[in-house]
Subunit: 287 residues, 2 copies
């Protein structure tokens, strides 16, 4: 999606340099993903490229407005929970939590650090986007329901996350889910389990890990989650955060005013999020 003169419009990014308005095909990218005819038309128009405008002149928005944002806890081998050792066996089941829709932000949005937290952290992830509706699909069928891939910053208030057994509140602050820059369709990704997720903070690479280390592969997540709920076009599954590099972990400090975090995956693009100082709200103090 990008900002048009009269509101958000779906578009196609051509060669990483141009944006083609697809507003004539569908109102939203979710609708486009759900409609094979519109999607094929979009591919042909993008291949032609006629009428596209320079990407640099366009404000990209979050590429979809997901009905659900489902997130994986521990899902990269080596990203170990506190106290665990590398010899721990893989977990038997994925640990899944939900981010509420108020977290969603686009690639051009600045995220305001909330006054109620002083320990905000980033997590750079690959997110898969559902194309066709998935209702209890088998593992074999699951991959066909993935429309494509994008990047997601699972911003987390660690102080709130650790206050109680459930992490939700630390994960669901307004703006804690930048998504983008765009969706790369599944057919354009040779092997989603051979991608390197790199995260850079202030010029320092803090994360660099391959999706080959995923405990639960992309298609499995679709299969598994589709038994709980019917997954709809545009739903996002954030596939989990690779472990921070040991030096980065040692040097870690909470996000502060002016910080920027870039998530980068070759073939998927990069998503840079800037963080800004809290805007005073009515009341800061929690019980």
């Amino acid at each position: 999606m990008f900002r048009g003169a009269d509101g958000p419009l779906p578009g196609a990014v051509v060669d990483g340099e141009l944006v083609l308005d697809l507003g004539g095909l569908a109102e939203h990218v979710e609708a486009l993903l759900a409609d094979p005819v519109a999607l094929e038309a979009a591919r042909r128009l993008a291949a032609g490229g006629a009428g596209a405008r320079p990407l640099a002149e366009v404000e990209l928005l979050a590429p979809v407005r997901p009905g659900r944002i489902l997130c994986l806890g521990y899902n990269y081998r080596g990203h170990l929970p506190a106290g665990a050792t590398e010899r721990d066996p893989d977990p038997q089941y994925p640990d899944v939590f939900v981010k509420t829709p108020n977290v969603l932000r686009g690639p051009h949005d600045v995220v305001t650090l909330p006054p109620a937290s002083d320990d905000v952290d980033y997590e750079g992830e690959i997110a898969l986007v559902i194309g066709r509706r998935a209702d209890a699909v088998s593992l074999d069928e699951a991959a066909a329901h993935i429309a494509g891939y994008t990047l997601f910053n699972d911003v987390s208030a660690r102080d709130w996350q650790s206050r109680s057994s459930q992490w939700e509140l630390g994960k669901c602050f307004d703006g804690f889910g930048p998504l983008g820059p765009w969706i790369v369709t599944a057919d354009a990704v040779a092997d989603p389990h051979d991608l390197t997720v790199e995260v850079e903070r202030e010029g320092v690479v803090t994360v660099s890990q391959s999706t080959a280390d995923l405990v639960f592969p992309m298609a499995f997540l679709v299969h598994y989650l589709s038994q709980v709920m019917v997954l709809e076009p545009g739903d996002v599954i954030a596939t989990g955060s690779p472990q921070k590099l040991p030096e980065a972990l040692a040097a870690h400090r909470p996000l502060a005013d002016g910080d920027a975090v870039t998530i980068r995956v070759a073939g998927l693009g990069e998503l840079t999020t800037r963080f800004a100082a809290p805007v005073p709200r009515n009341e800061g103090a929690a019980r």
Copy 2:
């Protein structure tokens, strides 16, 4: 909300016997709650009662379509987590989780037991509904943002809930959130902390506890959560499940085809949910 000839309509229940169509004032109850003028007009029309039709002839739908359903874990003293004793001090912070929108059902809907679980349970709760937008509101201001109260069944697949640290998947199966029968506005509830939540299953009362036992009172929840996200009209906060009575706990068995569970609170009405056998889906087995 109720089912009109051309789609869902907002309505007012008059004296528990009649339903007045409020479609002329707002499209949805969320919009009504957000608009003081429309809400006052609704009160006057309901007081007059002209043009109302018998409640028994109407299909009630979930009273709002919440943007968020935020739920409390342990929030009644005496409803103890496994292994805890009655002497445990109150938790310092609320334990909050999220139910995704696909759980929402109305008071007339039958909930299908999912094939992927064989341990589905009920939790009868009072839900508060946000009226005015709440952005980091103080504890003193918080109560004014509560539009009213309704009932909520926090249906839970215990097997899935206990598979991982986060409860989400056990909580988010399609249909696991019956809400209703209607919203009783806050001004009509003398003291929300002097209500008895009663749950009945197959003629047996399994829960009977007063909101006087709440660890975190209603207004505190609004205050606390509004620091994380701006609460919007129609958002629902399910205030937690009272403990099952010891005999009910001892006799507990998972919900089965044909079971019905009724949640009842004097002054708020009652919400009966029927459960039906799984409809076969494409694939049943999880990893």
